[in-house]
Subunit: 477 residues, 2 copies
């Protein structure tokens, strides 16, 4: 066996690594046969004219990885590799050439009626940076470690106080479970409720993330129709489900408010069937004419409501902070789930601490009030623009709250054609079809128009253009 490594004494790669690489390649290629003995450390060092240290280090590494075996008295022997790289192939290119289009449409639109975009020009950049810097300091370096899996106690306390003040939610900090995003919190919830029932009723149409997450966890999802004032209670009783998810403050996507009488009926239903209500309050802070509608959770001292909220709409999605408010009866289940799994908190402690400071010092309340005024103006301009330009050609469904409304259009074009025309004119809107659990037989031509992200002085122009491409055959060309 002739070992003739090309060693570069001036390379940045240490000598022992060069030697290790060379020997490994020779073994893999079969040029140093199995079971053969390699020269002793001293011999190879002499032969190569280098010190013994790099040779020893290289041999040690090859032993650690299993290429060589160290045998007392006989030195280092090449280990037999079962069916060496021959059959499986060796190496391959450093980077595979996997490429596909991104999961989400990244196109820029001149008129962006994105369903859930926020207006970030009023985000408190400076305050947030300052509070983040205050949180990430050497003196509190333990904040870099794993925290409370349920979420930081200080933040949970702030959330409980905030929810009471802004949403009428009654909770203790220990009922609050923080998470990074909804899919993850809904996964946890579906695990907590599994012992209770494996069927869940959902509003149809409604927000699809919840049913798809519960389905992933083996639930049967039962669509429940909507009446003018929210979910059909009679149908709910008939369905036999014992868990239901609702959006009582602002139904998604149709925007109705569940009146107090129906709320009480729903709570009675939960009592009657020994069931649970999931209240998804995704944008409850944002009501534009009149006060926010208080939560269902705080209406009666009920142990049957799971409340779901987050800071994506109120502040920004990129902070990745959402939460559940569990009824007391589910807290023991949560503790058990933790004991079985030992998961970690997914929402960054640094952001949790920053948000806590942001709330403690009263910035959040101020921010919500400011944004509510801003979104109200946009909302009003959008409504006015639609009325002015579309007149009887379209109907507005759901208003006065949240970040979107639904536009039902009377048009001979198909839904697909209408979407293409809008897209062609640089207008982002989306079809509401995906909110139906079973696509309705008849095409509805209902579109979701968000008004949070678009600049206020683009709204009317966008609506005017939309009406033109849809009705005046004016495609802008």
């Amino acid at each position: 066996m002739l070992l003739l490594p090309k060693l570069d004494h001036h390379s940045e790669i240490p000598m022992y690594v060069q030697l290790y690489d060379y020997l490994k390649n020779e073994i893999v290629a079969g040029r140093i046969p199995e079971q053969s003995r390699v020269p002793s450390v001293r011999k190879l060092a002499d032969f190569l004219g280098i010190s013994t240290t790099p040779v020893e280090l290289a041999y040690n590494q090859l032993v650690a990885e299993g290429f060589l075996v160290s045998r007392p008295r006989s030195g280092y022997v090449v280990h037999s590799l079962p069916d060496p790289y021959g059959k499986l192939g060796s190496g391959g290119p450093p980077f595979a050439k996997v490429r596909r289009s991104p999961l989400r449409d990244e196109k820029e639109f001149a008129y962006d009626f994105h369903l859930s975009k926020n207006d970030f020009s009023h985000f408190p950049f400076q305050i947030w940076r300052r509070l983040y810097n205050e949180s990430l300091k050497e003196e509190q370096k333990q904040l870099l470690f794993y925290g409370d899996p349920q979420g930081e106690a200080g933040l949970r306390q702030e959330i409980a106080a905030y929810l009471y003040q802004f949403r009428g939610v009654k909770s203790a900090p220990d009922q609050i479970v923080i998470g990074a995003e909804q899919h993850q919190l809904l996964s946890i919830l579906s695990l907590l409720l599994r012992e209770h029932s494996l069927r869940i009723g959902v509003e149809n149409p409604g927000y699809p993330l919840l049913p798809s997450t519960f389905r992933q966890h083996g639930y049967e999802v039962v669509p429940i129709s909507l009446a003018e004032d929210g979910i059909q209670i009679g149908e709910l009783y008939e369905s036999g489900v014992r868990i239901v998810s609702v959006t009582p403050s602002h139904q998604f996507p149709r925007g109705m408010i569940m009146p107090i009488a129906k709320r009480l009926q729903l709570l009675e239903w939960a009592n009657d069937v020994n069931g649970f209500i999931i209240e998804d309050d995704y944008d409850g802070e944002f009501r534009y004419h009149g006060r926010p509608i208080p939560s269902l959770q705080g209406l009666v001292p009920s142990s049957r409501v799971v409340y779901l909220g987050g800071f994506s709409q109120v502040l920004a999605p990129a902070l990745c902070i959402h939460y559940l408010v569990l009824p007391e009866s589910l807290i023991d289940w949560y503790d058990q789930l933790y004991d079985q799994t030992l998961f970690e908190q997914a929402s960054s402690r640094l952001h949790q601490r920053t948000l806590q400071l942001f709330m403690e010092r009263g910035y959040l309340g101020k921010h919500v009030r400011k944004m509510r005024n801003l979104y109200r103006k946009k909302h009003d301009v959008l409504i006015r623009s639609i009325q002015e330009h579309f007149r009887e050609k379209a109907e507005i469904i759901g208003r006065d709250a949240g970040f979107h409304l639904l536009l039902r259009v009377n048009s001979p074009y198909s839904e697909k054609e209408l979407l293409q025309l809008a897209r062609g004119a640089g207008i982002r809107i989306s079809s509401a079809t995906y909110t139906w659990l079973h696509s309705p037989v008849q095409e509805r031509k209902e579109f979701l128009l968000g008004f949070g992200g678009i600049e206020i002085d683009r709204i009317e122009e966008g609506i005017k253009r939309l009406k033109e491409v849809w009705f005046d055959g004016n495609d802008g060309s």
Copy 2:
């Protein structure tokens, strides 16, 4: 009906809110009967000596919430509430008094051999703050919105390059899936592999999060024993599973390295059974004598290895950035899962961007090298201290890598007693029993000692105290 609200003209609460609260309470209490008509806006305003605006706003709010109904010509009528608050109770205290002990032991220890704590005194606080501030700017405010559900493309590119350089992993950025923490990524993985098989083999003993997560998704978990050099390949064939999870670079918790021959056997097994290997490389960067062991994933151009890594050990858990490297054959499944669920990315875009800058500018490589040196010193002091103080009374299992070793103790005390003695002396260590899928019949008295978080000059003292309380009956009192 006599309406006598106490209105405070000097209160911070707006007049219409005071009036709304009063009317709502009267309705709920039944003092304004169902179906009765309330005074017209003008009449009530005159009666109370206020303008009509607050009365109108209060009525509108009560209509929105469903307490009043507006009837043409007959004015506002009180809606009938089904079984009003009577049966369900009304209100309740603002904060329930739910209290329980936190999920995790928060005790401070004088000698903290925590299993996975990092040394944060060398965290690059200033650089991280600077890069975070650079990421969160008005000019790039769109970073506050939802990003790529798979993780930011720029960070995925950096991770692909890093993994190739540091771990020999061969991947394209599109194979990388970013997430906030392991439980969530393992949940996604278990959904991706479900069509393939609902049985998974795991190392026994091993890291319990993986089997518990797969069990939550309906998998049968099959424990596979360890030989001296890693998982038993024969047993793996016999088990009939087609998915297996391994920690080849540094077995958890026993610390052995899987030699090249066994790695090739394992890859052959995956070929033979048309299976998948999950390579959990939780601390692969940290090897203290010799070079890091290259990943299994990069060994051959195989489409059968899922690689799992993260930045908790390398940087800090609080950043909440982990990742999967999917083989090409699973990418379509991932896209399908996304289409079905429309989940959002759980790891904050702000931290993803900060990390991307941190990597682009070469800070990560430097940090890893620095920390490797630091942890090597701690590792060496721990080994030396144990050898010196325990001598033949204990055996060290697994060394030269990661953040922990396993200490097997010869003692007449039970494991529980040994843990209590340690705790009493202010020493945090943990039993390795929880790493076994089925508790072994005989008590093993094996303890996990982490050395990452403890200050270097506390190590020897801690080990000395541990030996004293365990063997010399010296409980420090």
